[in-house]
Amino acid sequence: MTAAAPGVSSGGGSGEPRLPVWAVEVRVTPRQGILDPEGQTIQRALQDLGYAGVESVRAGKLFDLRLQANSAAEAEREAKRMCGELITNPVIEDYTLSVSEPP
């Protein structure tokens, strides 16, 4: 592991104040227009069970992060960078995220 970046608490005995922790929820779904065979299969299964009103299902993923940051805005900026770099593939996926104080 590399050392903590400046301004970010190591959480150990360094004496630095610990930054507030934020709960970041990232919801990833297949992009509109991208075929979602998993969602379609679930939709058909629901219809077979008698839920005739199910017009569409999109199946996605949820990521629950705990993130140290000075502010909610900073946590959001950093989470968006993570989404662009690794968590999502913008060619096939959309995402929304929300930041809140952890429960």
């Binding site: 991208i34 075929l35 065979p37 998993e38 690794l86 593939n89 096939i92």
Partner: protein, 244 residues
């Protein structure tokens, strides 16, 4: 002539690629560990099939950050011949060396089956040997006169997807290298095993030195084991390196 075959944790077609090169072709191959930053003077880099990093997150998403990938990207940008097979194709897309992405197969099934492929171009470093009259291949009777070859697929996430603009660019610049077809060489929906856009099975980058394909040519490269329709691909690379 040296092929460098990258091994990620979870690669499982690395040995097949190695034997295709050493036994099928009679050339030299080395394994390149994912943590290495040295391509060991390889003439061709192969990213083999498998389930690197357990396919966690998305196929190829984690592998693209392996130390060796920095070298592979630089090698490819400098014109180095780079072949990504199956999971290797996914990694090349995630790394931005090829456009588009590979998603869950239409029908959700993992498909492990020999398929017919039309070789769309026989003037690339990866396919020149398919033009050889000695290669046993049916001749496609359509406008391409391209050979049709039998090569197996084995994937759950091989549906090629890209936006309309990207697909148009690939088609108009002749960068679709292989297409799923029926026995008559026609790219029908029934012949499409995974729902790929335009029946795309393999694509080239703009410079033509990077090929990604879902089918496994290395599995059809040793005559004693059955069909060897994949071997001309490797022979093409030998020829390309020899003449460069």
């Amino acid at each position: 002539m040296k092929f460098g075959i990258v091994r990620f944790p979870g690669s499982n077609c690395d040995a097949d690629a190695y034997r295709a090169v050493t036994e099928g072709l009679g050339e030299t191959a080395v394994y390149l560990w994912h943590k290495s930053r040295d391509l060991e003077s390889s003439d061709v880099v192969v990213l083999p099939g498998g389930f690197s990093y357990g396919d966690y997150l998305r196929g190829g998403a984690i592998a693209r950050f392996s130390p060796i990938m920095g070298e592979v990207v630089e090698f490819a940008h400098n014109g180095g011949l780079t072949l990504g097979i199956c999971n290797g194709f996914q990694i090349l897309c995630e790394a931005g060396l090829l456009p588009g992405a590979l998603t869950r197969n239409r029908g959700l099934r993992f498909r492990c089956v020999p398929v017919s492929l039309r070789v769309e171009r026989v003037d690339t470093p990866f396919t020149s040997e398919y033009a050889d009259p000695d290669v046993p291949a049916e001749t496609f009777s359509g406008f391409h006169r391209a050979p049709v070859v039998q090569i197996p697929i084995a994937h759950g996430e091989g549906q090629y997807t890209a936006d309309a603009e990207t697909l148009d660019a690939l088609e108009s610049s002749g960068r679709v290298a292989f297409r799923y077809v029926n026995g008559a060489g026609e790219a029908t929906d029934a012949a499409n095993p995974n729902g790929s856009a335009n029946n795309v099975a393999g694509i080239l980058n703009e410079a033509g030195n990077v090929l990604g394909m879902m089918p496994h040519p290395e599995r059809h490269s040793i005559r004693a084991l059955g069909p060897d329709d994949g071997l001309p691909l490797f022979r093409s690379l030998v020829r390309a390196v020899g003449t460069s």
